[in-house]
């Protein structure tokens, strides 16, 4: 042991290897001392609590969350984000079908009317899907997070003259009349901020979404085939030009959620992993070669983008999910 220690000081030798045993040794020595020290440490916060609030948590009021959700619900429905508008402009330039060009022009004019007159881009103002990244050092005060979000949806959809498309039960089918409850996906993340995405999702495109538990042997070719086939079958129904969210890997439910989460990414941005960036490009070519075109009436632009979100998965599994978004790819985000 002593020999190893001395050797570690010479720069020619691998430091990491030599250091490890030294660290283990030190930890083993210190361990009993730590246990003794632990007691006074535990007592400290109790004393602090008695003295008054010294919480390191950043407070965010439920009311503020509701206000922001209400505003974003309206803005998402009136005001198409730049990434979508730019993708539509690019699509207009690339489309060769005359009917397809006409549709791109209508969509751009529609977006301008909606923004200027504060009218919904599409009459189907969707299920209110909300993604939340809650910093673990943030604390929601004065109410519950989910209730605040639903309050925001209720207000935004009512005050904004947005359509109420939510049924309280899938089989008894009675409209809740205020578009609640929202579909809320919350993650706990580092930091003390709360980030929200409001993503109204129409029924036409949502209904064309699919998931498959492929065999690992199906591999990347199986994934391509499934994605292309889903878009071909969807044809005109999800209002092409579409944005295709693809979840690959994970468990069954994680894969589906990832397909939707993929839609949050800015259209036109490259996937951070070059392997998936290439696959996205190839899938986009395959999809556009289907010839579905704007509104399914035939054309060279069926999809504006393909976004993939991959996740680790089981040795026996290869799940793939396709969540299609229409050209009314509504999304707004805010950080509180």
């Amino acid at each position: 042991m002593a020999k190893a220690k001395r050797k570690s000081k010479t720069p020619a030798r691998g430091k990491a290897k030599a250091k490890k045993p030294a660290k283990v040794k030190a930890r083993a020595k210190r361990a009993p001392r730590r246990v003794k020290k632990a007691r006074p440490v535990k007592k400290a916060p109790r004393a602090a609590r008695k003295a008054g609030p010294v919480s390191p948590l950043r407070e965010i009021s439920a009311k503020k969350i509701a206000d922001v959700v209400a505003r974003l619900s309206m803005e998402a429905n009136y005001d198409l984000e730049h990434d979508v508008l730019e993708a539509l402009e690019r699509g207009l330039g690339a489309e060769i079908s005359p009917v397809g060009k006409e549709i791109f022009n209508q969509l751009l004019e529609n977006a301008a009317i909606a923004r200027n007159e504060r009218m919904p881009i599409c009459q189907d103002t969707g299920l209110a899907v909300i993604f939340v990244d809650l910093g673990q050092d943030a604390h929601v005060t004065g109410g519950l997070l989910d209730e605040a979000i639903n309050e925001g949806v209720r207000r935004g959809y009512t005050e904004g003259y947005l359509r109420k498309s939510v049924l309280g039960d899938p089989l008894r089918r009675v409209n809740t009349k205020d578009n609640t409850p929202a579909v809320i996906h919350t993650r706990i993340v580092p930091g003390d901020r709360l980030r929200l995405w409001v993503v109204p999702k129409g029924g036409g495109s949502e209904n064309m979404s699919k998931i498959a538990m492929l065999k690992p042997a199906d591999g990347i070719e199986g994934v391509k085939k499934f994605v292309a086939e889903s878009v071909r079958i969807a044809s005109a129904n999800p209002c092409p030009p579409i944005v295709v969210g693809v979840g690959i890997g994970g468990s069954f439910e994680q894969c589906a959620e990832n397909a939707k989460r993929a839609l949050l990414r800015t259209i036109g941005s490259a996937h951070p992993d070059a392997f998936y960036a290439d696959l996205e490009g190839e899938l986009l070519r395959i999809i556009n070669d289907l010839g579905v075109g704007p509104m399914g009436l035939g054309g060279r632009i069926t999809a504006l983008a393909v976004h993939i979100e991959a996740a680790p998965c089981h040795i026996a599994s290869l799940p793939v999910a396709v969540n299609i978004n229409c050209h009314a790819a509504r999304h707004k985000t805010a950080v509180l």
Binding site: I96, S97, P98, V99, E102, I103, Q106, L107, E109, N110, I113, A114, E117, M119, P120, I121, C122, Q123, D124, T125, Y161, L162, R163, K164, S165, N175, G202, G203, G204, N207, S235, A236, N237, C239, D289, L290, G291, V292, G293, M295, G296, L297, G298, G299, R300, C326, H327, A328
Partner: protein, 183 residues
């Protein structure tokens, strides 16, 4: 592909000359109905009861508009997916319905009724709902107000832009167009 301006309701000769891919600007009166209203209409026909709207020569637009804001004739009003109305459409066509406006391809049963009785299926641009609502100058609920967005409305339209998607001669732009641009 021709371009026409037509008056709604439609005459049999209007329907006859339209071909898949033609552009049509519609002016006149059309009716709205979607899933729930279709179910009720078909029930009334089967029970032999009178309908709340005339069918002869008429056009039904598959739409559930967003709520009407103050000062506007109607909220945003783009087409909904048509295949959900496929089980009901043949009976309405048999009773005189001449046109339907929606999005997405129709089932063989609907096409058969269109060919047999002379009816046309138009596609409006899905999601161009603010633009389309500007071409609707008046809207009046004429039946089932309790259905909200799904109530039957009579719309006055001016140059309402649609494309002939499936005609009464078997033409189908979804099939033909997609084949043309596939690689």
């Amino acid at each position: 592909m021709a371009e026409y301006s037509m008056t709604a309701p439609l005459k049999p000769e209007d329907v006859d000359k339209l071909r898949a891919g033609d552009k049509v600007n519609l002016t006149g009166f059309i009716y709205t109905a979607r899933d729930a209203a279709h179910k009720k209409l078909v029930e009334l026909i089967k029970e032999g009861k009178p309908l709340p709207l005339p069918l002869e020569g008429q056009i039904i637009y598959y739409v559930g508009p967003s709520p009407t804001p103050p000062g506007k004739a109607i909220g945003s009003a783009g087409p909904t997916t048509s295949f959900r109305m496929d089980p009901y459409a043949p009976l309405l066509i048999e009773r005189g319905l001449r046109g339907m406006i929606g999005k997405g391809e129709r089932a063989p049963g609907v096409v058969e009724a269109m060919q047999k009785h002379g009816a046309v299926y138009f596609a409006a641009t899905g999601g161009a709902a603010a633009l389309l609502s500007k071409r609707i100058t008046a809207a009046e609920v004429i039946a089932y107000p309790e259905l909200g967005a799904e109530a039957i409305r009579r719309l006055t339209v001016v140059n309402f832009p649609v494309i002939v998607a499936q005609d009464c001669h078997g033409g189908n732009i979804y099939r033909e167009g997609q084949r043309q641009y596939a690689r």
